[in-house]
Amino acid sequence: MIAQLSVDRASQVLSKLIRSGARITLERAYMTDISEATAKINAQENQAEVIGSMVDMMGDAPFKFLFYADAPSCLILTDLILQREVGLTKEFNIYVRSTIQEIGNIMASAVCNVFASDFEIAMKPTPPKVVHDFLGTVFQEFVMGTAAERDEVMIIESRFYIVRYDVKCTIYILPFPGSDKTINYICNTRLKGE
């Protein structure tokens, strides 16, 4: 339930940010072994160069958030966010990195908002970290902290597709160890009306 609400809210802010509809093409929450999850990502052939924005959300139920898009999509997103003609941005400059940084920041905050307003779980973001690298490298740096504490983790994964511009982006939400228990407890308590 939280995964669905979070992804819906993230999709809404993304659409608002780029002033274009972003369709959710995949949405799932699952437990996975970190070695298997990273091996699957690493197995992807002709792996894309991506720019990813990682945000840690700290508070009662801390989680990590990753937003990434492949290189050509990042250039298009920059033009969209600046409301310029698509195709004008051609090189990976500070504005392209910053676009991904801010999209990650704003989407992560939207997810936080779900926790805060719908479940009264207080959260606060740390400044985003932007990484421009292989997808496999970005993903493993993202899971590193959690992988140091657990072999199996819960991951919420969602893909967005901006139809008009053929742009694909992905988000991952990774609860810190213990957060899943906090979230379950709070949800169960609220659902029972206590």
Partner: protein, 122 residues
């Protein structure tokens, strides 16, 4: 006379977006800062009419920078800009003395209405 505005945000894209909106509507962007420390420093140097201040920044966050600017100049007009749509952070900013706030992602109209309100324009 054009209003003089200092933009403080760690995201270059947000600084560019705000600058585009403000310059297109007749305001003068006198400087930019990428964190709270720079924001306070540039306020001292440039003495702008209005500051737009992101809350979540590295080194020093926007609330701390806001406090320091108001300690230097109690008449300073600072509009906080945040992606966090949370009452707590915004209430803290208002309590400290922010003149107004804007939530990201922002629309041009919202930016301009906040700026005009702070300048006392209609």
């Amino acid at each position: 006379m054009a209003g003089r505005i200092l933009i403080v945000d760690d995201a270059p894209i947000i600084r560019l977006m705000l600058k585009d909106i403000l310059v297109a509507n007749g305001y003068e962007v006198v400087g930019e800062g990428s964190d709270g420390n720079e924001g306070v420093q540039k306020y001292k140097e440039l003495k702008p009419d209005v500051v737009t201040m992101d809350i979540t920044m590295p080194e020093k966050d926007g609330i701390q920078a806001l406090e320091e600017i108001l300690a230097m100049d109690e008449d300073a007009k600072v509009i906080v800009i945040t992606a966090i749509d949370q009452r707590e952070a915004l209430m803290e900013a208002i309590r400290v003395g922010a003149a107004d706030y804007i939530i990201k992602p922002f629309e041009t109209d919202r930016v301009l209405s906040a700026i005009r309100k702070v300048f006392g324009e209609g």
